[in-house]
Amino acid sequence: MNGLKNINASLYRRRRFINYAVLASSILTTLFGLFWLVWLLVTLFSHGFKYLNLAVLTQPTPPPGEAGGLANAIVGSIMITCMGVAIGAPVGVLAGTFLSEYAARSRIAHVIRFVNDVLLSAPSIILGVFIYEIVVVPSGHFSGWAGSLALALIALPIIVRTTEDMLRLVPNTVREAACALGAPRWKVTVSVVYRAARAGIFTGILLAIARISGETAPLLFTALNNQFWSSSLNEPMANLPVVIFQFAMSPYEDWQHLAWAGALLITISVLVLNIIVRTFLRAGHKS
């Protein structure tokens, strides 16, 4: 009896020890992980704010050694991103509608869902290469349009996914009630289901914007860059991510400073978009 008690006590001590060891290492790994991320953010904000000024927002990109800003790149980024979403969002929402409303359990829907996941996980640089081959090579020049198309390909699978998920959350009784009133199917979808899920669909589109506004790799071979003001999507276009890449890799210090300011701008806009998404989702849950 006494022996059994001893065994139990030692087993208990061992279990407790393992438990403490695991929990302690989980705290340590959390600190380890957060340490790098905090370090990154602190550097980004301290460097970024040091070099962020009015000229950054109002002047175009300078040659090395001269004063200037990022205005053309900011405008270019906004235009390319907006066009990318304008192309990707309608297609994505309709495709998501098909998956949820018209073909939920059919074979074709399974295939498209799988393919959508493939597109979602495809490296963004590959999408850039693809657009380079089918748009840039035939047209003979880099252009803002090519950049928008590449970004649309990144936004598309995100929007398809979230739209389908959000439409599925709409209870079937709502659809049945509308059908019973004699509404045709498209009307049920557009005026009832979309309306019920609009916060969710909008969230998906915002998430896609947040994702593509920082994408660099696909723009390297599509929109390229432009030293000058350009508001035509038909020409190579300056955009923040590529300018940051070029300036950061350059040996000129004033270019590197602009790169930090640009990096801060991108990070802030992505974070703001994400926070808006969060508030939207919370509002959606409440109603």
């Binding site: 279990r15 407790r16 695991v22 929990l23 290492s25 989980s26 705290i27 790994t29 959390t30 380890f32 992980g33 991320l37 990154l40 460097h47 309608p90 297609v91 994505g92 309709l94 509608t97 098909f98 018209y102 498209i112 799988f114 393919v115 959508n116 996941d117 493939v118 597109l119 996980s121 495809a122 490296p123 640089i125 590959i126 999408l127 290469v129 693809f130 081959e133 089918i134 390909l153 045709p184 199917r185 498209w186 009307k187 979808t189 994702r211 920082g214 790799a217 390297l220 390229l224 991510p241 940051i244 890449f245 950061a248 890799m249 990096a263 991108i266 990070t267 974070l271 994400n274 969060r278």
Partner: protein
């Protein structure tokens, strides 16, 4: 009445076919990507054949190209990233779900999700300007004087402290996937029904035993999937790597030396490539990368299906 009925039916057909066309276009895009990549890569594949994958030569001057250096760099940086990312994000998820006081839970979880949204170019820039110099001054000399002298793995860790290199790129990638995987792990751990955990605690299990015997078995499908998704991200990541890998087209034993990955080769050389074979070889690299990530995704999906089948219907 009848008129509006037919009109409704026509609109019905238009709307449903519009959704169908959009859905099928997703499929067509993937097909088009594969065709375009294959067509672009064809001249290189025809010229070099299978040796393209196994050759470590990458010489634009003599137009001899092989993918081995880039494939090696891609795989090794991703392995390093997973070695760092998986345990750390696992620890973070355990901390948030099991240990953290409840007032701290939401702030930490939100912070991690926001960090996952930061564009990868920011990680790359930070790696180049902040982490690489620090790594070269403080960590690398230590690594090569300790790990570098070990018998078998020694050659992997010897060499001059350059700061940029395969190891640095792997570490930056690891740091980058931490927020992403940690937030997925946390979401998974949160769905475990409290009643299961409580009954385990009720018969005297420790927190670790609850995690090992209840939480992990319940979520293993998702955990495997999340790791695969993180791996897919690491394989295809461009900007975080391009800044710090050094872009050297040589095969080096040491992880401290500069190297190259498929995506960073593309990012650095694609717009400058002259000649059909050079461009085509780069596109062939892209094709290989596409299939690598496709394989990882397919494997993840297959594992998920098999695990769900094995478990049967959960009641």
């Amino acid at each position: 009445m009848i008129r509006s009925g037919t009109k409704g039916r026509i609109l019905d057909v238009i709307f449903s076919s519009a959704t169908k066309i959009c859905a099928i276009s997703v499929f067509l895009i993937i097909v088009a990507i594969m065709v375009a990549l294959f067509a672009g890569a064809w001249p290189a594949l025809k010229k070099f054949g299978l040796s393209f994958i196994f050759s470590a030569e990458w010489n634009p001057v003599t137009e001899q190209f092989g993918a081995l250096v880039a494939i090696y760099g891609t795989v090794v940086t991703s392995i390093i990233a997973m070695l760092i990312g998986v345990p750390v994000s696992f620890g973070i998820a355990i901390f948030i779900t099991e240990l953290c006081p409840s007032w701290l839970k939401q702030p930490i979880a939100t912070a991690i999700e926001l960090l996952a949204a930061i564009p990868s170019i920011i990680y790359g820039m930070w790696g180049l300007f902040v982490f690489a110099p620090f790594f070269a001054d403080h960590i690398e000399p230590w690594i090569s004087s300790t790990l570098g002298n070990l018998p078998i793995i020694g050659p992997l860790f010897s060499g001059p402290p350059l700061g940029i290199g395969v190891l640095t790129a792997g570490i930056i990638l690891g740091i980058m996937v931490i927020p992403f995987m940690a937030s997925v792990f946390r979401d998974l751990f949160e769905v475990v029904p409290p009643v299961l955990k409580e009954s385990a605690y009720g018969i005297g299990a420790t927190t670790w035993e609850v995690i090992k015997k209840i939480v992990l078995p319940y979520t293993k499908v998702g955990v495997v999937g999340a790791i695969m998704l993180g791996l897919g991200r690491a394989l295809g990541e461009t900007m975080a790597v391009t800044f710090v890998i050094g872009n050297a087209d040589r095969l080096e034993t040491s992880l401290l030396m500069p190297g190259n990955t498929i995506s960073s080769s593309l990012a650095n050389q694609f717009t400058e490539a002259v000649g059909e074979i050079y461009t085509s070889s780069l596109i062939a690299l892209g094709l290989i990368l596409f299939f690598l990530t496709f394989l990882v995704l397919a494997l993840a999906k297959y594992l998920l299906i098999r695990l769900t089948l094995k478990e049967g219907v959960r009641t």
